[in-house]
Amino acid sequence: MTRHRRVTRATADTRAVSPAVGKTLEIGMGVLVIALLTSTLYGSVIPEYRADAGVELADTALASALSTTETTVPPPGASVSVSTQVRLPTTIRGSTYEIVANGTRLELQHPHHRIGRTVPLSVPSRVVAVTGTWRSTKPFVVTATGNRSAVTLHIGGAV
C-alpha cells in the first residue's frame, strides 16, 4: 500500500485526467451514435415505411370499396333499393381520408402526397350515376336505388 501511494503521488497531476477523458470520449461517441441512428430512422426510414404501409393499406381499402360497390348493383327489377355496409380502416398513416365517387370512378383522397388513387368501376350500363363522398370515420355504405333501366349508386357513411 505504501508503494502505491508513492506512485500515485508522483504522477498525480496528469494521471487523474485520463479516466475523465476516456469517459467523456465514450459519452460523446455514444451520443453521436444514438443521434445518428435516431435521425436516420426518424428522418427518412420510418416515414418512408409508414408511407409504404399507407399505400398498401389504401390499395386494400379502395379495392374493398370497389368490390363492395360493384356487388351492390342489384339484378334488374321494377323498383330496387339495396344497401351494403363494410368496415374499412378508420385511419391510414395516422390520418383520416375520403373516398369520393365521381361519375364512374372511385377516388381515394389522403393528405399524404404518396397515398391516393383513382380506379374505374366495372358496373353494368344500367347504372347511370355513382355519387357521394365517404369519410373514414364511419362504416362504408353503398346504397343502390332505381328501377329496371336506371340504377343510381350512392356511397356514404352509416348513420
Partner: protein, 233 residues
C-alpha cells in the same frame, strides 16, 4: 481495483473503449438487420389488391345475367363468344385502359395490350350451344303420341297428313295447345316448358305415316368451361 490500475500507467485507463466499440457495432448491426427484415416484410405484402378486385369485377360482369355473352347467369352462349373481341370495348368501357386477357379453356377470346404476369381470376361457367334437331315420328295405334328426346323451349310442328286423315288436336302433356275441328295442316310453333319432358299427343282420325309429322326443336347442350380473366394493371 483502483490500486491495480494505478500501477500500470496512463494507457490502461482507456481499456473499456474496445468494449464500447463492440457495443456500438452490435447496436448498428441489429438496426440494419431489422431494416432488412422490414424491407422483406414490405416486399412480401405487395399483393396488388386493386388489380385483383378489377379482375374479379370484370369476371363477374362477364358471367352476369345481363352481360352480352350470357344466356342466363353463369351460362355463356357459344355463338356470341367469337364476337366478344369486337364488342368488348363498348360493353365494358371501364376495362378499356387495362392490359388484359380473357380466355375460355385456353382459347383466347380477348387480348388488350401485353399482360405479363398480372392477376388471374378463374370462374367455372357453362357454355350453351343450340343446334336444330329434326325427328319424323311414325304415329299409329290408339295413342298417337311422341315424346321429345330432349327438353327445349319451343318445338315447330310441321303437319302434312295424308288425304282423308284429319288432325284435330295437339296436346302437350295433356294440355291442348292446338285445336282445329276442320283439321290442322301446316307449320305451328309451340312453346313448351324447359323444365319438363314434353309428350306430344295427336287426335287423328286415322294413322299418320312417317313424313306426315315433322318435329323441329333446339335443345341446349352445355359443357363446363373455365373462364379466366387476367389483368395486369
Amino acid at each position: 481495483m483502483w490500486g491495480a490500475d494505478a500501477g500500470r500507467g496512463i494507457g490502461r485507463a482507456q481499456a473499456n473503449l474496445p468494449a464500447f466499440a463492440i457495443a456500438v457495432l452490435l447496436v448498428t448491426s441489429t438496426a440494419s438487420l431489422s431494416l432488412f427484415v422490414v424491407d422483406g416484410a414490405f416486399g412480401a405484402v405487395d399483393r396488388e389488391p386493386i388489380e385483383r378486385a378489377r379482375a374479379a369485377g370484370l369476371a363477374a360482369a362477364l358471367v352476369d345475367a345481363d352481360s352480352p355473352l350470357a344466356e342466363r347467369a353463369n351460362v355463356l352462349n357459344r355463338s356470341r363468344l367469337a364476337g366478344l373481341d369486337a364488342t368488348f370495348d363498348t360493353a365494358f368501357p371501364s376495362a378499356s385502359a387495362l392490359d388484359l386477357r380473357i380466355t375460355l379453356d385456353e382459347e383466347v377470346l380477348v387480348e388488350r395490350g401485353t399482360p405479363t404476369g398480372g392477376t388471374s381470376v378463374r370462374r367455372l361457367v357453362l357454355v350453351a350451344d343450340r343446334d336444330t334437331r329434326t325427328i319424323e315420328p311414325a304415329l299409329s295405334g290408339s295413342e298417337q303420341a311422341v315424346t321429345l328426346p330432349r327438353r327445349a323451349s319451343s318445338v315447330t310442328v310441321a303437319l302434312d297428313p295424308p288425304p282423308g286423315t284429319t288432325v284435330t288436336t295437339l296436346r302437350v302433356n295433356d294440355r291442348v295447345v292446338l285445336h282445329d275441328p276442320a283439321g290442322l295442316d301446316g307449320q305451328y310453333d309451340v312453346a313448351i316448358s324447359r323444365f319438363e319432358t314434353a309428350r306430344l299427343a295427336f287426335d287423328v282420325s286415322g294413322p299418320l305415316p312417317p313424313g306426315s309429322v315433322q318435329l323441329r326443336y333446339r335443345p341446349a347442350t352445355t359443357r363446363k368451361a373455365v373462364l379466366e380473366v387476367t389483368v395486369d394493371a
